[in-house]
Symmetry: C2
Amino acid sequence: MSGILSVIGTGPGDPRQMTPEAAAAVSDAEVFFGYGPYLDRLALGPHQRRIASDNREELGRARAALAQAAAGARVCVVSGGDPGVFAMAAAVCEAIEAGPDDWRAVDLVVVPGVTAMLAVAARIGAPLGHDFCALSLSDNLKPWEVITRRLRLAAEAGFVIALYNPISKARPWQLGEAFALLRGILPATTPVIFGRAAGRPDERIRIVPLAEADAGDADMATCVMIGSPETRIVARPGRSPLVYTPRFSAPASR
Amino acid sequence: MSGILSVIGTGPGDPRQMTPEAAAAVSDAEVFFGYGPYLDRLALGPHQRRIASDNREELGRARAALAQAAAGARVCVVSGGDPGVFAMAAAVCEAIEAGPDDWRAVDLVVVPGVTAMLAVAARIGAPLGHDFCALSLSDNLKPWEVITRRLRLAAEAGFVIALYNPISKARPWQLGEAFALLRGILPATTPVIFGRAAGRPDERIRIVPLAEADAGDADMATCVMIGSPETRIVARPGRSPLVYTPRFSAPASR
């Protein structure tokens, strides 16, 4: 008898940004798998079991969750943000593809959420108001040359670029190299947004021109966004500036 | 005395996918601006006034909302999905930049939501599980050559591509041309997802290989996603197949 596996996103961290659908999936489940700080966002009852694991153990976590669901349990896998964006839904699909046949019979429900770039964008205006891309800067699972090629093509295409996983202790230099590469393509005045912990008590959001962007201003909890040549800044007396990308593109645009 | 302007997203249409933060913004407001079908998703009280306008009148709607907020009203501008993705937040920022000084003094709050591509992705697995882009196919506000250039560079970069505004009565041929262009770059077997009205009663989600993708399968309520060369399909006996893009990229990848 097969159980159910829901893969949910908590949103960026503010409980008011987690959907009722995700909250209902949490209420219905009996065992929870996830990175500890994401599990900490849930108010679990005494009958609900939590199994925390490290952020880099996604595939093992997916396998353990699938094994329990295939055995009949009501299992919930917890991501921050949206589970489909650089998060657990892909790891669960990978595990199903490579796993035993009965994992394909599990009732899999992916529950979408507010991913980090949307929450950061909302705090400063509408930087993602026109064409954009989302790119993981982690070279743990893809070669650095693939990343630099994508960065270059995205900038040449005129996409606003949202960088996930910009930096970590094990990957200290990649973000600085990405800024250096983009300085060769984009105007020096292009707005760069460091959006840390949007909606959480320790939120910190900074806007700097690309020429001055410093990788040291990012950490693991930061989503870094680089504007397109059309992204604009609107000063507001007594308020923080707005950053937005217009809905239109000029013919002369790259 | 300046009022408040909240710009919210209802999510894709299932009320369980609208955040508590957006619901609270709705409760707090007294006048609502938006496209009629989005306003219809809200359960407004008798003291709450709704001002519906056509989908193509975004800038005029933003100006009308700002004028009321600047005059002291508690105003809510309503988008479907997320207000920051091809929606009202950018139009409001544009209006502020070009408008009278007192519009810059308005307390502007953008409330993020679940955008369509995340909801569609969740219904079929994790097609956005790795690097992706979101591109509006509408050439109302940008030249068609900008769009084809972005499509070409995105496909060459190996991004999964989510197309918003794929087709309308006034723009009948653009999606077919986009498929033709992409067939020249991507494998014929690349999965294409037609995700219509995800989470709503009239939801319809289809997966076809790029070689067979037919623009006639899309309408205004459809988000079309084109996989990358690495996007995979996992068959499941007795269940719909999963589509996902792995977290890793091979060195040989484009």
